[in-house]
């Protein structure tokens, strides 16, 4: 395998590519260099921290006396701390970095005021840091996915405005009439997130809704964050990376458009499937289940589109880390959605609603789909920002396989264990504790999967650190002008 592993072909313009186009791209990449690298660095720092917490959380679930008795190390605080670190620290930062870079590329415009963007990133990090600290010190709001206290929400919102407004502004200054499908998804994500976040905060804290509606708002928020924020960014990235790497246009643009609109329309309605048979008017839950079933339309169109684009090019996954991670993520999107439909059906949900299946589902969405896709994008983007290629192909391979086996094993354990847990819970002949004892071996298995994921994330962080320090390889095939200084320090 080519050690650089980076796709060296530059398809869309390869025939007509003049120096000017390459130069232009180099300029664009250079303009995004500081903020995107800053977003990526902080995202990966959060990823590593969140992974460590995840291990502790996972072990504590079956060994509850581990680090017992310390208030900020109690399971019920570590779990939301881990979750929020991953959601707001890792995934949001990595997603925004990717989205900003993609937006600049696709709008063919340089990023204005990159330092303001970096300042926004710093604020965001501050918000996540304070928020995680607040959770550990016992100041969680108690709303799942929205545990950060109100004062943190303000910081995050200001930070977000600093970051996203420039991305949207880029869209205004874009060159060329064509709007690529990725831009649709990214624009959607950038506009959906603030509304979503503001609506969640307003309806829970500023003018709080009554009783169970708080839960309805929470899960509406959680699922929309998953789909309209993370999902939209990941799908946008996949729509860019796959055609880019294999050097072939998207199979059908019409399919892509159908996929986008049905995705926006249906996935935004799925929140209540987390509360099937809960104390809500039945129509809310039924509407969400129907919407979840209808998400099969975007799944089918997007999946089919990627598949037909990739047709005949699957062997390239052997060489390109970007392609390999991205295709894994895109396939996981299908799996994630199909499982989402299955567990939302009333007959199934009555078994699995209160089990580890929901944890498995969330990890499938956030790790197998989103994180793997973003890893793919990072493998593409980072070399273009630092002017070096990834140093070790073997590390990338190790990263991929430990991540793939890790998340695969974790999903398997949580889904299988969760189904058994639910089956025993719904069997009143058995004592309740039986359902817990049933799932325990699977939770230990999940901890093993967690070790694999820890390895994978640490490898990636180490590799990224090498890139950041300029220890990557100097590119063997100069597809681009390096956006950074042309020093030759490679090869040690």
């Amino acid at each position: 395998m080519n050690t650089t592993g980076i796709p060296l072909r530059d398809p869309a313009v390869s025939a007509a590519a003049g120096d000017t186009e390459q130069l232009e791209r180099a300029y664009i990449d250079a303009s995004t260099r500081v903020p995107v690298l800053m977003f990526y660095t902080s995202a990966i720092a959060w990823l590593v921290l969140g992974t460590v917490l995840a291990m502790v959380v996972s072990f504590k679930l079956h060994s509850p006396d581990l680090f017992g008795g310390v208030s900020f190390l109690t399971w019920g605080r570590l779990r939301p701390a881990h979750m929020n670190m991953m959601v707001y620290g890792w995934a949001s930062m990595a997603g925004m970095g990717t989205a900003v870079w993609l937006m600049a590329r696709l709008c063919r415009t340089t990023l204005r005021f990159p330092l303001l963007l970096a300042a926004g990133g710093a604020f965001w990090n501050l918000g996540v840091l304070i928020g995680v600290g607040a959770i550990l010190l016992g100041d969680s709001t108690g709303f799942q996915w929205l545990e950060f206290p109100r004062y943190v929400a303000v910081i995050l919102f200001v930070a977000y405005t600093l970051m996203a407004s420039w991305a949207v502004l880029m869209f205004r200054h874009r060159r060329g009439d064509q709007i690529y499908i990725t831009q649709w998804f990214l624009l959607g994500a950038f506009l959906w997130f603030p509304w979503l976040y503001a609506a969640g905060q307003l309806m829970l804290f500023v003018v709080p809704v009554q009783g169970v509606l708080q839960s309805a708002v929470t899960w509406w928020y959680a699922n929309n964050l998953l789909f309209l924020w993370f999902g939209a960014i990941a799908l946008g990235a996949a729509y860019y990376m796959i055609p880019k790497v294999i050097g072939r246009p998207v199979y059908s643009y019409h399919l892509a458009i159908i996929g986008f609109w049905t995705y926006a329309l249906f996935s935004s309605w799925t929140g209540m499937t987390r509360m099937v048979d809960g104390p809500f008017p039945a129509w809310m839950i039924t509407a969400s289940i129907a919407a979840t079933i209808l998400t099969m339309i975007p799944v089918a169109t997007i999946g089919l589109n990627h598949h037909l684009t990739m047709q005949g090019y699957f062997p390239l996954m052997r060489y390109s880390p970007t392609l390999r991670f991205t295709v894994f993520g895109a396939m996981s999107y299908t799996v994630f959605s199909v499982i989402g439909v299955l567990i939302s059906l009333r007959s199934v949900a009555s078994y699995v609603n209160f089990t580890q299946v929901s944890i498995g589902y969330s990890h499938l969405g956030l790790y197998a789909f989103f994180t793997m896709t973003i890893f793919g994008s990072m493998y593409y983007i980072v070399p273009r920002l630092v002017g070096r290629e990834w140093r070790y192909g073997s590390l990338i391979k190790l990263h991929f396989w430990s991540a793939a086996y890790g998340i695969g094993l974790m999903t398997l354990m949580l889904l299988a264990g969760g189904f058994l847990q639910g089956a025993n819970m719904e069997n009143p002949a058995l004592p309740f504790s039986e359902s817990i004892e049933t799932v325990m071996p699977y939770l230990r298995g999940r901890s093993i999967a967690g070790i694999l994921l820890t390895i994978s994330n640490f490898i990636f962080a180490y590799h990224f650190g090498l890139m950041l320090l300029g220890l990557g390889r100097t590119s063997t095939v100069p597809t681009f002008l390096n956006p950074v200084e042309a020093e030759t320090s490679g090869g040690h």
């Binding site: 208030s71 509360m275 809960g278 009143p428």
Partner: protein, 349 residues
């Protein structure tokens, strides 16, 4: 450029559609429910919660109890929650109108807590350091109302020596006799108030016979009453359970919330609030473990979780729950000894 307006309108439109559909319309539909009451305007349910309950809810949030415990009972034709004795009826939006934050929960690594307060043994209205809580609060209409009183009230029975407990027992029965409220809780109360056996069950360490009846409850989600521990789901029991979950159920994977308790040297005589611990969890000689105010609040919160009151919009299983306890005193009157042992299970229904 031409496609831009539809793109923006579509992005906002799809989102607004879901926002209106899943949050605004429901708010309009069930966003301002009132408590229900009977024709005379009495028997109001639910009632606003006490300050301790509110603070307890924040302790509950802070320590992430919601990540393992749900607080919603599903209908009997959907799931087995009711058969598991987690409630007499499904939960309804009206049950939660005074709860903020609301903890419906999404996980059952532990039991459902929607009715944990209803499972408590009848509150003992003994003269006790019950704090500011009025013992005769509103127990008749809602168990939740009585919870803050119950929390501190029940603890002395565990903390104190058998002698004190039995000394308190004569006081208990007059208190109950005096209380004129003639709805479910008094029914339960008479069960426990049957003077000395009730106390014996609490205090006699070797009292295996009382444990037997509750153990036989088929499919009951809760563990068997362990000898030597406070009666299940009493405030004292909750404190022991929070402090040392595995002293009650060795297989429990619940974290121990020791940081909510204070271990201190006994000054003078042992505090009435001190936890009744045994084995490896017990503090060394001359020391005692007492709950902090946060611990008392979270127990008051747990004791206040009670959806046993019937709701007009929801069918209760097994007829009107108001009628359910009435046979119980009769049965208990017939055979006092098992009745005492059944006290953990009896107040359930």
């Amino acid at each position: 450029m031409k496609g831009l307006a539809p793109l923006f309108i579509g992005i906002f439109g799809t989102f607004a559609f879901s926002w209106v559909g899943l949050t605004v319309i429901p708010t309009w539909q069930i966003g301002s429910l009132n408590p229900q009451s009977d024709e005379e305007g009495t028997d109001i349910y639910p009632r606003p919660q006490s300050g301790m309950f509110q603070r307890g809810a924040h302790v509950y949030a802070a320590n992430g109890c919601v990540y393992c415990h749900s607080q919603q009972v599903r209908a009997d034709y959907i799931a087995d929650d009711i058969e598991r004795k987690w409630g007499d009826r499904r939960s309804a939006p009206r049950d939660y109108i005074f709860q903020r934050p609301v903890f419906l929960g999404k996980m059952r690594m532990g039991q459902d807590l929607a009715n944990i307060g209803a499972r408590a043994p009848a509150p003992e209205e003994s003269p006790s350091p019950a704090g500011g809580a009025s013992p005769s609060g509103a127990p008749a209409t809602q168990g939740a109302g009585a919870s803050p009183a119950a929390a501190p009230a029940a603890s002395p029975s565990s903390g104190s020596s058998p002698a004190t407990a039995s000394a308190a027992s004569p006081v208990t029965s007059p208190a109950n006799a005096a209380s004129p409220n003639a709805s479910p809780p008094p029914g339960q109360r008479t069960g426990v108030a049957s003077p000395s056996p009730g106390q014996m069950a609490n205090t006699t360490p070797g009292g295996s016979s009382p444990a037997a009846p509750s153990a036989q409850t088929p499919g009951a989600p809760w563990p068997i009453q362990t000898a030597g521990l406070p009666p299940m789901y009493s405030a004292a029991w909750h404190h022991v359970h929070l402090y040392a979950p595995r002293s009650i159920n060795p297989d429990s994977n619940m974290p121990a919330y020791r940081f909510l308790y204070e271990k201190r040297r006994i000054a003078g005589e042992r505090s009435a609030e001190a936890l009744q611990l045994s084995g490896g969890d017990a503090p060394p000689e001359g020391w005692e473990v007492v709950p902090t105010y946060d611990a008392k609040c979270v127990v008051a919160y747990l004791m206040g979780l009670n959806q046993s009151h019937p709701l007009k919009e929801v069918r209760s299983v097994g007829g009107a729950p108001a009628a359910a306890p009435s046979p119980a005193p009769a049965a208990q009157g017939a055979s006092p000894a098992p009745a005492a042992g059944a006290s953990p299970a009896a107040p359930k229904k």
